[in-house]
């Protein structure tokens, strides 16, 4: 029976090792994790600082996406967290972890979880560049 170990939208630091510990199980032979970390550059421009804004519905939608992915794949457990507010270079913005009996389901579910979070969760990224300009990502 697949389940969701956790789904959090938070301003606190998030860590892939915390999520990995949450999904781990003696019956799971594979744990796959993803950490989406803030880069010091984007399209060749140096990033000075970065923040995310989350819509009030983001937490509930993240829980829904996690449940859907857990139900769709043959996994033991999934967990996902998205941070918002200011995030320092190198820190994680999105982390996901999936445990499964077999590795293919763990990889496939982790890819789907990250894809669906990016597609469905109302969260926005704002970047300030070293050259003084700034942008809301995906909003040309």
């Amino acid at each position: 029976m697949s389940n969701v170990s956790g789904a959090f939208v938070t301003t606190d630091l998030i860590s892939v090792s915390d999520l990995a510990a949450q999904v781990r199980s003696d019956s799971a032979g594979a744990v796959v994790t993803f950490s989406g970390d803030v880069r010091d550059n984007d399209h060749g421009r140096e990033v000075l600082s970065l923040s995310y804004e989350a819509h009030p519905s983001a937490q509930a939608l993240l829980e829904k996406v996690a449940r859907e992915v857990a139900a769709k794949f043959d996994v033991v457990s999934v967990a996902v967290a998205h941070r918002h507010g200011d995030i320092a270079i190198g820190e994680a913005a999105l982390v996901a972890a999936v445990s499964a009996k077999h590795r293919k389901a763990a990889f496939d579910a982790c890819v789907a979880l990250v894809d669906e979070v990016k597609a469905q969760i109302p969260i926005w990224k704002h970047q300030v560049f070293k050259d003084g300009t700034d942008e809301w990502v995906n909003c040309a």
Binding site: Y52, H55, L94, K118, P122, I123, W124, W136, C139
Partner: protein
């Protein structure tokens, strides 16, 4: 009573305000009026999606009734 229009992320940056209060009308009419008040919104709105009272709104001819909240969401960019 009136309609609350909330702007998020790039839409808020374009509007220059977090939210505005409008009279009841169709969503399209409300958004047109918002662009008239805050012209920079005109570049962002074509990419936006909308929530009416937290539920996705695709048909902008729907009348937004007094007491409702219309959210303006730019393209998501999580992760």
């Amino acid at each position: 009573m009136s309609v609350t229009v909330r702007f998020f992320a790039a839409a808020r940056a374009a509007a220059g305000v977090n939210e505005i209060s409008m009279e009841s009308a169709s969503a399209m009419q409300i958004l047109d009026k918002a662009v008239a008040l805050h012209p920079k919104l005109g570049q962002v709105l074509p990419q936006c999606s909308y929530l009416l009272n937290e539920v996705s709104l695709r048909d902008l001819s729907v009348v937004v009734t007094d007491g409702s909240t219309l959210d303006v969401l730019p393209p998501f960019a999580g992760g």
